[in-house]
């Protein structure tokens, strides 16, 4: 392995976390989170490095990272909108929110704007069915949304 891409901070965090888990493989999910915090997304090289650190095949890292939608396998914009389109949110107008966002930002779901500011993604259940429709903006929740509130929110970001 040549030069390491992941920072010293990442490795220090892993050393601290390791005793919490019964096996080193269990460190995979937190490691992926920490790496994503560092780079905003998980590049193949980063996943390779995580694999060799934990001692598993890089394919296995890829398997786990692609299973969970919270891990970004492609670079995302500064503001990452994850709109829940599962049953409860859908019934409360999530589709409208998605198409509104798409129109306003001029991109399709899963895409990033040219200025690398916004990414929209459809999300399976966010666990906020009681306050549907819900959306995650980076790591924050916005619930009981409608188009007006969404507009307001987006304007403040711009």
């Amino acid at each position: 392995m040549g030069t390491k891409i992941l920072s010293k901070k990442f490795y220090n965090e892993m050393i601290q976390l390791e005793p919490r888990y019964p096996t080193k493989v269990a460190l995979l999910l937190p490691a992926l989170h920490a790496a994503q915090d560092e780079f905003g997304w998980l590049s193949p090289e980063v996943m390779e490095e995580i694999g060799s650190y934990i001692g598993i095949h890089p394919a296995q890292v890829r398997e786990v990272a692609s299973f969970y939608t919270m891990y970004n396998l492609r670079p995302v914009g500064k503001y990452h909108l994850k709109i829940c389109t599962n049953v409860a949110c859908c019934l409360r107008g999530a589709d409208e929110l998605v198409s509104h966002c798409e129109k306003k930002l001029g991109i399709q779901c899963g895409e990033t704007t040219k200025d690398k500011k916004f990414t929209i993604m459809e999300e399976e259940c966010l666990g906020a069915c009681g306050t549907a429709p819900a959306m995650m903006l980076n790591n924050d929740y916005y619930e009981n949304l409608d188009v007006v509130q969404l507009d307001e929110l987006l304007e403040n970001l711009e």
Partner: protein, 469 residues
Amino acid sequence: MSKCIIDGREVEFTPGQNLIEVAKKAGIDIPFFCYHPGLSVVAQCRMCAVEIEKMPKLQTACSTVAAEGMVVKTKSPRTAQNQKAVMEFLLINHPLDCPICDKSGECDLQDNSYRHGDLYSRYTEERRTYLDLDMGPVIQKNMNRCIHCTRCIRFGDEIAGIREMVALQRGNNTQISTVDGRALETDYAGNYADICPTGSLTVKDFRFKKRVWFLKKTSTVCEGCSRGCNMEIHQDANVIYRCIPRENMQINKYWLCDEGRFNFQYVNDENRVVAPMVNHSVSDWGLSIDQAKKVLMGKKIAVLVGSDLTQEEGSHLLEFLPKHFPGSPIFHFGTPGLNTAEKDGDADRILKRKSKTSNLHGLEKLGFQGFDKMPKEINAVLVIRGGRAILPDLKGLVAVGLGVFMAPQVEEFSVILPGTSFAEKDGTIVNYEGQAQRIRRAILPPGQCKGLSEVLMMWVNSKSSSGAA
């Protein structure tokens, strides 16, 4: 012995056996896809679900352990209805390309669809399709045909010991893949195709060479190393198309390494010498035997016997050689740097052994000595081998070869008498544990190749006197 009742029949079982195995013993087939006796049980295809009395829901037979007095119904209307539903579900995205699919004829999905599926599907929407990434030189992937049984993933993890094949994405988008289409690393990749219940993973070497129902099968033993894995040779019209593993729980279980699987290729190789040769030109048997005797006449001869020969051939040679080559040293050879059975050992954690020939241990038992260094006074050699023993350096020696040789290997040989490979003869080989196994003739020898005993007879009966000094 504990007993349970399957389809109204009392069946004995050993505690811990699952229902699929118990039923199989009684001759009752329970259909399944994800289950494989050599792999862990995951119960995710749901095809093997059966009705068990006193249980409210159908139970998957692969993950249900037989219990005393259990009453199982594998053909009840509820079971059949479930099988029909599972088949319809699996066929939703499966392409109807059986006519051009290489698995057709030996496909679990096809067979189970025929036996348990419905004639009709209600699905009218578009099928899921994938663009396929490569998987290296051994395996060709067609993800559209995959039913996500994960046998391949479990094989990699549990048997081959490498988690290189994984399920990317999830749910409906699941895709079996290596990282970005990287080539498979394991030396056991052929097994991925064997255990695939659909035409999703196929062997590149065999693809589209032959429809499987034309293949004639011969049960034999691999000659690739001293393990002696059981396998089948599949041939048609005297051409070998492939080798696949044959179950033997004591030796190789269900698996075969790629080296053994593709070892047969030299049998059909275009460089193989299939007619007697004297100084690079084709001759006939009588003349070339005379010539062989002539070139060896008056020389100090060493006899090299390949440890890929069978016990029978070894015994013949032990009678023949002292009579016709009195005083000549006799050595066995096969793998460079490994000249006694003692030095043989495991080459990996799965099947491969260090000895690259099948009968090293057998020949040693017959009393052959291992080849180390050519004795100084020797100026001629008689090499007798099958097709696999690796030739030592014979520079500067007069050489006569008897057996299977590729033309580039034997450019310096004076006489070549073409013999038979492991696929062209019957015989016994002894593996590293002392287990004697039969190899069987699958095809006829090509060209003018002859079995060893026949050649020795011709040698004895030929007019000119014996070759030894």
